[in-house]
């Protein structure tokens, strides 16, 4: 074994080194100069993207005896996750400074979370997957409780932790069932043994799979394993919510694609039903309950549940086009979610959390440009053409139709119509209500530029979605 054999794991190794460096340097930085940590974290992230790109071997490879995978899918997901974390750090910086919470821990925990995400993305075995998941989850628990003074944050962190522990337990238990039946933890070997020995395809394996599905559904925040999500979205500080709402969705997608598609493809007929039930419940409950929300973070939380319904239905369809559609949907959703929470952060400041939907009233009068950006995010999420959300939804509906489920397609359209209501309500508030708050935004020029770019990307991707679609199809194939 030479050093070049570790090359596929180079991003994780270098990121871990960067994190340690940031952690150490942060110790010697005074509170006034804490922004240096932010820049260091940013450098670490950029470095990470660079390493992901240059360290890529020419062909898909596995190391550590198949426990660790490099393939084009992992490269795309890692770049996307890193970029989204960087975006989140940027949006968080000005907010944290204003509320006096610009601490090094936020960035370090964020980086550790990213490390977990990357391990999950490259997982080749159930145990690697679990390792990444726990790395991510521990970072998230701590991030939610980041605001030590806030009882709300503590409560939601506690809920998240306990429920997360139950889900992890279910996952581990499922892993042990599967190991017991197939004698392996590696996805490739599990898949192989199911194919070779059809008699394995029976209740014991199914039980293991069911526990795994519960763990995956919890990570996604799909109904009925979603209960933590609205409470955590609302209870956590907004930058943390942004973090939870964006990059970990990519990890969850990797989880479902690796476990259910790579590992348990042979059980497709069995898990399809479970995924469908979860997806439909998510779609309906997410969209309907979002209507009743007055807190925008909570509303976006339920909206996230509804979007997960779409992602799961794309996976449910069980074709390559379906997996590509789920990847496209997740990538674009993450961009939109980061932007929407970025807007929430932009409106918040010392002593004022822009948490109520009503806080968006009259935004057009205060800042026509950012009202327009928020409109882009809302139209994008609602699936109004030509914003990118439309094509994401269209793709999923197409693959579900191709799979022969017109009823589900109709349900998706109807749910989208219901969903349009609460997105458009935000737009209504921005354009047709009088502003109560007249203060000027305090975010830096770079943050504003980035947020504008984010909004324009939602439109640009919708106008020219072809290349991203082609990319998704290529990395899945």
């Amino acid at each position: 074994m030479t050093i070049s054999d570790f090359l596929p794991a180079a991003p994780e190794i270098s990121l871990l080194c960067s994190i340690c460096a940031v952690l150490l340097i942060d110790l010697f930085i005074s509170d006034e100069k804490r922004v240096v940590t932010f820049w260091l974290a940013l450098v670490a992230l950029l470095l990470n993207i660079w390493v992901v790109v240059v360290s890529a071997p020419p062909d898909p490879t596995t190391i550590f005896d198949g426990s660790y995978i490099y393939d084009p899918l992992s490269q795309v997901l890692k770049v996307a996750a890193t970029a989204v974390v960087a975006l989140g750090f940027f949006y968080a910086r000005d907010y944290l400074r204003q509320v006096g919470m610009l601490k090094g821990e936020f960035f370090v925990l964020g980086l550790f979370g990213l490390l977990g995400i990357m391990i999950m993305i490259s997982a080749g075995s159930l145990l690697t997957m679990y390792l990444g998941l726990e790395t991510l989850s521990l970072a998230l628990y701590a991030l939610v409780a980041f605001d030590r003074e806030s009882p709300q944050a503590a409560e939601s962190a506690m809920k998240y932790f306990v429920l997360g522990a139950i889900a992890s337990g279910a996952l581990l238990y499922g892993i042990s069932w599967i190991y017991g039946v197939t004698g392996s933890l590696k996805f490739a070997e599990i898949s192989q043994s199911i194919a070779v020995r059809p008699e394995l395809n029976d209740v014991p394996l199914w039980f293991g799979m069911a526990f795994l599905v519960v763990g995956i559904a919890f990570k996604f925040g799909a109904v009925p394993f979603h209960m933590w999500l609205p409470d955590v979205y609302q209870g956590a500080r907004s930058p943390v919510t942004l973090y939870i709402a964006s990059a970990p969705k990519l990890a969850a997608l990797a989880l479902i694609l690796r476990v259910l598609v790579d590992g348990l493809e042979g059980l497709h007929g069995v898990w399809q039903g479970m995924v469908m039930v979860i997806a439909v419940l998510s779609l309906v409950i997410g969209n309907v309950v979002a209507i009743a929300q007055s807190n925008i973070k909570r509303m976006l939380g339920y909206s996230a549940i509804a979007h997960v319904g779409f992602i799961l239905l794309a996976v449910f369809a069980g074709s390559e086009a379906g997996y590509a559609a789920s990847l496209f949907y997740t990538l674009t959703y993450v961009i939109m979610a980061a932007g929407a929470f970025g807007m929430v952060l932009l409106l918040s400041r010392q002593g004022f959390e822009a948490e109520a939907i009503a806080d968006f009233k009259g935004l057009n009068a205060r800042s026509p440009w950012f009202a327009l950006m928020m409109l882009f995010f809302m139209f994008g999420m609602a699936g109004v053409p030509p914003w990118v959300g439309f094509f994401a939804k269209l793709n999923v509906i197409n693959v579900v139709l191709d799979a022969g489920f017109p009823g589900l397609a109709i349900l998706m359209v109807l749910a989208s119509v219901v969903g349009a209501y609460y997105y458009l309500r935000v737009v209504w508030y921005m354009y047709f209500e009088r502003a109560e708050d007249k203060s000027v935004f305090q975010a830096g020029r770079d943050t504003r530029a980035l947020l504008s770019l984010n909004g324009l990307a939602v439109l640009a991707l919708g106008i020219a979605p072809g290349w991203l679609l082609a990319l998704c199809l290529a990395v899945i194939g």
Binding site: I166, A170, W206, A210, V214, D231, I291
Partner: protein, 656 residues
């Protein structure tokens, strides 16, 4: 040639777009120069087309420019059919439009909407050319609606005036009625032939005429009669035939150049043109021809009567237009399509002239339009006076002027038409056109005398300011006066009796009255001399002028006395036979009541109340209920997860 055709159509369109969208940038002078040059170019090229096809014996061109869509074998195309009928119409349209463009510089001089106006009239020219040059029904319909749209925009050009808004809405709604018939007619054609192309449809005309169609219940109607009557309903709307005429007098709310261009010379004659173009269809339906004849007669006579009691200078001319359109329609009904088009052409010149002259008077009178407040302005405005005289003489058919040849030929055609000896229909038509001559002369010279002769009835301030209008106004008057005076003399022979239209107009051998008349035609001079002896038309016209002279110059006290004596008749005429009341209080009010009912009951109650808001309320209630599932208690959350897991496991066991 095809490049020329395209240029003729596109030059005005391009000018309209530039003047409309970039009016500010190119300025007022830029707007009128651009549009005038474009329309001038179209006119010159139209002359080239006419020369090519008539004098040089060029072939009829029928081709498609662009295929817009093909649906189930039905080709929807943009294409041109350029034959002699089309070429003549193109020249008339572009010439009058050209004159009106120039005149507008003077008339709209101080108007803030200067560029917008030029943009509209150029757009109109484009639309009208599309209409006459079309080789298929779809493009015909496009042009038909486009001229209607521009007409609507221009009637309401001064959109801050309440009356202008009312008038353009009225024009729009009444034309809806006509256009509904028109599009039904086109639909019926498509139903029988599955084609929109003129030549294909004309080729299948014989087949259609042999088929029946059940319109109401079981009673079968001849398919061709149904199609032609439906198409003619469209013509009734566009060419303002009774009872769909009510919009035309009100359209005088628009600026005068528009009244001349759209509501006298060109757009309103689209219906006449269309029927002439469809002659291969109409000839095959005796019923439809009878309908055309009777509607035309009624319009010709009764609308003329209304002109006698009007006091607004433009409205008098408007009713005269209605009456003359009636004349053309009668000619169509008598299968004398050539006579109708011939009258259309001469009418375009002299009626545009009369309108522009009226506009000139209006400018001089500081936008006073009541002829009771005019009088004696002959000496202030000699050019306007003499050109108006030419126009009026042409209108009443004074021997030698353009209107004389066309109207006399038309009356003769009706008299000798195949309807002769067919009883009521024939006599209604013949008497109407004959008595109409007297009425025409009476109202024309009533107006002429009241405006230009007699006592000066305007106030002192206005009178001190009356002077001849500028050259941009008078030059078009003179240029229009020339054809109004002489064009009949030169063209009656070739156009009417020289087989000018050739195959573009189809007449059944038994119906061809113009050929019969042509056999007796021996030159314009002989036709002129013949008119004194052949029929009473000349003497009726002379009597009309005399009566007008006696009543309005010799004994100006008499008209009021007569009006008082015959108050019932006067009121009937003054209220225009109560047609406005019928339409506004009857149909419009009924329509509004129906609309209100559907709105409050159907829309608000059922669609909004039950379907839309009902669904929204249900979803809202559901949301209110479901949110309570989120209790906030950790053990509830954990419980939900465990229950779901258990259910899944149970399901898997059941699956096995």
């Amino acid at each position: 040639m095809q490049t020329i055709h395209l240029t003729i159509v596109l030059a005005p369109l391009l000018a309209a777009i530039v003047a409309g969208l970039f009016g500010k940038q190119i300025g007022r002078a830029g707007a009128h120069w651009l549009t005038i040059l474009a329309v001038g170019l179209s006119f010159v090229l139209s002359m080239v087309v006419l020369k090519d096809i008539y004098w040089d014996g060029g072939a009829v061109e029928n081709y498609s420019v662009y295929t817009w869509a093909v649906s189930d074998g039905l080709r929807m195309e943009v294409g041109f059919l350029i034959d002699r009928l089309t070429a003549l119409m193109m020249v008339v349209v572009t010439f009058v439009s050209f004159m009106v463009h120039i005149y507008t510089i003077g008339y709209m001089h101080d108007d803030p909407g200067y560029q917008r106006f030029f943009s509209y009239i150029s757009l109109f020219t484009f639309s009208m050319l599309m209409l006459v040059m079309s080789n298929n029904f779809l493009q015909l319909f496009f042009g038909w609606e486009a001229v209607g749209l521009v007409s609507y925009l221009l009637i309401g050009f001064w959109f801050k005036r309440e009356s202008a808004i009312f008038a353009n809405l009225k024009a729009f709604l009444v034309n809806r009625v006509g256009d509904f018939g028109f599009i039904l007619g086109i639909a019926a054609i498509v139903m029988f032939t599955n084609s929109l192309d003129y030549m294909t449809v004309f080729g299948a005309a014989g087949d259609i005429a042999r088929q029946d169609i059940a319109v109401f219940g079981g009673s079968p109607w001849n398919a061709m009669s149904v199609i032609c009557i439906l198409l003619f309903i469209g013509a009734m709307g566009k060419s303002a035939q009774a009872p769909l005429h009510v919009w035309l007098p009100d359209s005088m709310e628009g600026p005068t150049p528009i009244s001349a261009l759209i509501h006298a010379a060109t757009m309103v004659t689209a219906g006449i043109f269309m029927v002439a173009r469809m002659s291969p269809l109409f000839e095959l339906s005796e019923t439809a021809l009878a309908v055309v004849l009777v509607i035309g007669s009624i319009t010709a006579f009764f609308m003329g009567l209304l002109g006698i009691v009007q006091n607004d200078i433009k409205r008098v001319v408007a009713y005269s237009t209605l009456s003359q359109l009636g004349y053309m329609t009668v000619a169509l009904g008598a299968s004398a399509y050539g006579a109708a088009i011939f009258h259309l052409m001469t009418h375009a010149f002299f009626k545009a002239l009369l309108f522009l002259a009226a506009g000139s008077v209006i400018i001089a009178m500081h936008h006073e339009q009541d002829i009771r407040k005019m009088g004696g302005i002959r000496k202030y405005m000699p050019i306007t006076y003499w050109t108006s005289l030419v126009g009026s003489l042409a209108l009443i058919g004074f021997p030698g002027f353009a209107g004389f040849f066309s109207k006399d030929a038309l009356i003769e055609a009706v008299r000798h038409s195949h309807w002769e000896g067919q009883g009521a229909v024939y006599w209604i038509a013949y008497l109407s056109v004959l008595l109409g001559v007297f009425v025409t002369a009476l109202y024309s010279f009533r107006m002429f005398f009241l405006v230009f002769h007699g006592k000066e009835r305007m106030d002192e301030h206005t009178r001190s300011h009356i002077h001849e209008t500028p050259a941009v106004v008078t030059v078009p008057l003179v240029l229009l006066a020339i054809p109004s005076a002489v064009i009949g003399w030169f063209t009656i022979g070739p156009v009417l009796f020289g087989d000018f239209f050739g195959p573009s107009i189809f007449v059944l051998p038994g119906h061809d009255v113009l050929a019969e008349l042509g056999a007796e035609f021996h030159g314009s001079a002989q036709f002129l001399a013949h008119s004194f002896t052949a029929g009473p038309a000349f003497y009726l016209a002379a009597a009309g002028v005399l009566v007008a002279w006696f009543l309005y110059l010799k004994r100006p006290d008499l008209p009021e006395a007569i009006a008082n004596r015959m108050s019932g008749l006067y009121t009937l005429l003054d209220r225009k036979y109560y047609f406005d009341e019928l339409w506004i209080n009857g149909f419009a009010a009924g329509g509004r009541r129906l609309g209100r009912f559907l709105w409050t009951r159907g829309d608000e109650l059922i669609i909004d109340g039950v379907l839309v808001n009902g669904t929204a309320n249900s979803v809202g209630r559901l949301a209110g209920t479901l949110r309570h599932l989120q209790t906030g208690y950790l053990y509830h959350y954990a419980f939900a997860m465990i229950i779901a897991l258990t259910l899944f496991l149970g399901w898997l066991l059941w699956l096995q």
